[in-house]
Symmetry: C2
Subunit: 412 residues, 2 copies
């Protein structure tokens, strides 16, 4: 995808001062004359920024403005290793809300809507982003935060919530709970906006069917504002990414080469307006592609990425074969007897790697036959035979945040 | 305290339309000609609004603007009975931030400060209020949310936090933890802002001593914006309450009569600018008094209330005597051998009410003698003899939110 002239101008403009603005950028681009970068080709010679670079800058080394201009920090969870701290100026906070309000607009949300917010607040970027965007648009934010399903459902009925925002996992949990209670007619939901984790077609369809909602995918990551830098519109399953705030590249995760539109690879983002912590060619590790062609909504100034199929660091290597969880999920989705929930467990037993796949079904199915059919389908499509374990419907854990479905226990 | 002419004007202005703006106010002031209210004396004839009225309006009956103008709701916790839902317009949200930023200014907070926010987010008004005010002022918000003491202390050191915002209970827990680890010299705290629960002198002094901070008290309640409608300044232990946003009365909780400045009673608030849910003569149940005279800070346009000593519904009746927890706390505070933590348990044993008081001390004290001295001090000052139980230092539970110190188990 060609860089737009306005984008190139915003990039070259920030390149004039970037190295002087913080030791982080001075070090990152040491020996490179950023002011000399004038074309897309020259831009593509610049080194990537990776999460590791950001971790090294802990705590506030990323900051590219005088510290008094920072009005907020957010942080990635830091469950593995040092957290990443992202500093925001007042303009960054406002720009994020503007982008998020645009997301709601693309999803057809209006000031008459009531938006129930179930993601978390605090250092995490989700809750407050969903709230600021809703308030800027003029919709009514119902700021629940995570968990407490009983109260979520009570408020969903009593506040007559029309828009639910949640991880796909929690939306699924709520959908199953609402179905179980038989209260679908007391729920006024029209739209669901999910983000922050990959969800396959089967899970989506399960939620859509149970709640009777339009399903929107939101895109974003803590390092680049947070959720809200792109969303699917009413005409497409791809997500428009705001070209006035980020420049989008898709690269081959192995070679780092920029790929042509339509080809699958890793999303790389460059911020165009961010003051607190600009990022140049940030490797998101999210796997997608740029969808070529025009979108029926007409907003072709904002390129579309396809539904995220996973993360480049999700890849499992087993029996010498590279497998992504999404591939297993797609195979499972071809079995209508199975629920949308599953678990993949990798272990090292008797000197060899083993993949166990747990799936759910009900009692009316021949479990032994189903087990064999699932195993041979994986064998046919991926090249090795997993151990398939079938369990009762509802037995696999559901989550109020992101459901962990892959467990690699080989090196524990 | 006399109503200011500007306040009276704001009140009479909203009275012109209030009854037409929602069925809640139409019903509340049924038979009363609000437009005829022109003087303080006439205002004081109006009925109070109580939490029960607000509960009856559940879910959104309070709303005094067209519903599309509401951009947010907050809610009281509703641990007992129906929750109260408070709707906010965009102006209400902005006004709240303006008041909160003013609180920080009165506490001497500047854009160079880093404000660690430990109260909760979501439906509760605390976290997002502390954050919005800090950001509007231009300080750096470090939005932690509640709990996770390990991470709180890590971020306090790494982000070089200068202002801690917390309940007094959680500030005490953090102070004790920092002391225990001997890391006071790694902590850059200069100010502590606490709210939402009563804390006596001994607890305050304990925190001030451990953290070496200036201690500020913030005032507010979910029904009237949230915390941030007043704060203590650098010259006083009273809290200035923003006279451009609320009109303040102190009443006798039994008779409802307005009390002269200086006399202790219950705080009653009338909002002057609130659009989403104006409140007229709202009984807060918080006990305080208006501090007469001038404040050294010079901001005499904003009257001062004294430190909240409790809630009118906190009162315990035992052996025919009315006792407030604060009275017991004051007595305990006269014993330097005791820590600042305590518990009061009321039970009904063998046909009579009993008060047990649990206190903490260390091993170098004669426990039996201390026990007797505490019991006779309560007897001398309040009129009955409690059972005093002494436990090891640190044994009573500390809390990350509000520490519950009174347990009435008589009617369980």
């Amino acid at each position: 995808m060609n860089i737009m002239p306005e984008q190139l101008e915003m990039i070259t403009e920030q390149f004039k001062t970037l190295k002087d603005r913080s030791p982080f950028y001075a070090k990152k681009f040491d020996g490179i004359d950023l002011a000399a970068i004038k074309t897309q080709e020259e831009f593509e010679t610049l080194p990537f920024t990776d999460k590791g670079d950001l971790r090294e800058a802990y705590p506030l080394g990323l900051t590219a403005v005088p510290m008094e201009k920072i009005v907020r920090i957010h942080s990635s969870s830091g469950t593995t290793g040092t957290p990443v701290i992202v500093p925001y100026t007042k303009k960054d906070v406002e720009d994020w809300a503007v982008q998020f309000a645009r997301c709601y607009e693309y999803a057809g949300v209006t000031p008459a809507d009531r938006v129930q917010i179930t993601p978390g607040y605090g250092l995490w970027t989700a809750g407050i982003g969903f709230q600021a965007g809703a308030e800027l648009l003029g919709a009514m934010a119902v700021p629940m935060g995570p968990g407490n399903t009983e109260k979520q459902i009570q408020f969903m009925m009593d506040m007559e919530t029309t828009v639910l925002t949640a991880t796909a996992s929690y939306a699924l949990l709520l959908a199953e709970e609402i179905e179980k209670r038989g209260i679908q007619d007391k729920i006024k939901l029209k739209k669901l906006i999910t983000g922050s984790e990959r969800a396959g077609e089967k899970i989506r369809n399960r939620i859509i069917e149970a709640l009777g909602v339009e399903y929107y995918d939101i895109y974003g990551l803590t390092e680049v504002y947070g959720p809200g830098i792109g969303i699917s519109c009413q005409h497409s399953h791809g997500m428009h990414v705001w070209s006035d705030y980020v420049y989008l590249e898709i690269i081959d995760p192995d070679t780092g080469k920029v790929l042509p539109d339509g080809e699958w690879g890793e999303i790389v983002l460059t911020t165009l307006q961010k003051e607190g912590a600009p990022l140049i060619r940030f490797r998101t590790h999210d796997l997608s592609r740029i969808i070529p062609g025009e979108c029926a909504c007409g907003h072709n100034e904002h390129p579309r990425i396809d539904t995220i199929t996973g993360r480049s660091d999700d890849m499992m290597k087993i029996h010498g074969v590279n497998v992504f969880p999404a591939q297993i999920e797609e195979i499972l989705a071809t079995f209508p007897e199975l629920s949308s929930e599953y678990q993949i467990r990798l272990s090292h037993l008797d000197g060899r790697d083993t993949m166990r796949i747990y799936v759910e079904t009900n009692g009316s199915v021949d479990w032994e036959d189903l087990r064999k059919r699932v195993a041979s389908s994986v064998k046919a499509k991926i090249g090795f035979t997993p151990l398939v374990k079938i369990v009762e419907l509802g037995l696999l854990p559901r989550s109020e945040k992101k459901t962990k479905r892959v467990f690699d226990e080989r090196y524990d």
